[in-house]
């Protein structure tokens, strides 16, 4: 028997089947958490915001357009929530020192990957919140400039300036000569 599609699960969840929504969350929780973690760079906050994302999504599930994909939608909801969270919470929470790990590599390579990943995450975390979210939506959610402008409700010119400045700052941090 084929696994139910996201659409099936959404329809069942709309009819009040909590198990269906649990399955939907289970399917997307890691990617949503990673959206939050890339933007917040704090595991506890990212997990809380990921959970909050699914709570909000459940409230809005009846308005979700079934012709669209659930994954991009929920990840955009997460990005917006994170942006609101950062802007509402100043100064920001301390950043995690957690290192990324890839078990398919040798210990030496793993250390290198961890260090590089940590540099990238730290560089992302050092960006202004609006820049972080634009980078997230462009690089990880692959939205067009117009879609980002629509999602964040900002002018197209702001999307471009945020994105290009963010990249310039990241390049300076990550590719600066030692």
């Amino acid at each position: 028997m084929n696994a139910p599609t996201d659409r099936d699960l959404i329809l069942r969840a709309r009819r009040g089947d909590p198990e269906a929504y649990g399955d939907l969350v289970s399917r997307h929780q890691t990617s949503v958490f990673n959206v939050c973690y890339r933007i917040l760079h704090n595991r506890a906050d990212a997990e809380d915001l990921a959970q909050e994302t699914f709570i909000r999504a459940l409230d809005r599930l009846h308005t979700f357009d079934l012709e669209r994909e659930f994954s991009p939608w929920i990840r955009r909801v997460a990005a917006n929530l994170c942006l609101n969270h950062i802007e509402a919470q100043k100064p920001s929470a301390p950043l995690d020192e957690e290192r990324d790990e890839d078990k398919t590599q040798s210990p030496g390579e793993q250390v290198e990957v961890k260090e590089r990943s940590e540099q990238i995450r730290s560089a992302l975390a050092s960006l202004p919140p609006q820049y972080r979210v634009v980078v997230e939506l462009r690089h990880y959610q692959e939205l067009s400039y117009d879609e980002i402008a629509s999602e964040l409700n900002i002018p197209l010119s702001d999307v471009k300036s945020h994105l290009f400045r963010a990249r310039k700052l990241l390049a300076e941090k990550l590719h600066a000569p030692d």
Partner: protein
């Protein structure tokens, strides 16, 4: 004249209508090609960021807690059914006893009861004042038929099943 940062960014983002002109320029300009390479390296860095695993299962919050009944083992369900069946049998057995017993109970009137209680109370007070307890015999209290042992045994069995069954159910719930 070199390409602007905006042109390079839009080129990599596939957000420009000037692709052909930009590519022609890149073929002939090492400086712009180097800037493009730096930007491509940044894209590669961002793409290389691995996904991180959650430390807790968020989905568990949204999934319903498994109900007690489906999680009961087969033997426990059998015990509960047996308990219900025993209770029913005991009830059927008890009905004739009750029908025999109820007419045989002689119920004294309320006034008689009050007199009994009053006289007992007075005799107790007398006994207390004389520092001795009265040896009083109840005479008008109802009497029961002697053959009650079967009924008591049946009720005891049902009680044991009831206590045992509920104990198991509660233990299962607390896990």
């Amino acid at each position: 004249m070199h390409l602007t940062d905006e042109q390079l960014n839009e080129y990599l983002d596939n957000e420009t209508a000037q692709r052909a002109e930009i590519e022609t320029h890149l073929d002939s300009c090492d400086e712009c090609a180097a800037r493009l390479s730096t930007l491509q390296a940044l894209f590669a860095d961002l793409d290389s960021l691995p996904e991180v695993e959650l430390s807790r299962d968020i989905a568990a919050r949204f999934s319903p807690r498994p109900s007690l009944t489906p999680s009961l083992p087969r033997w426990l369900t059998l015990t509960a059914s047996l308990q219900a069946a025993a209770a029913l049998v005991a009830l059927i057995v008890a009905i004739p006893f009750f029908s025999i017993m109820i007419p045989q109970i002689e119920t004294p009137s309320f006034t008689t009861w009050l007199f009994e209680i009053q006289s007992i109370w007075i005799s107790w007070l007398d006994a207390l004042s004389n520092y001795q307890l009265p040896n009083y015999q109840f005479t008008n209290l109802p009497t029961y038929p002697v053959e009650l042992s079967t009924l008591f045994i049946a009720l005891a069995i049902v009680s044991i099943f009831w206590i045992f069954g509920n104990g198991l159910l509660l233990r299962n719930q607390n896990r």
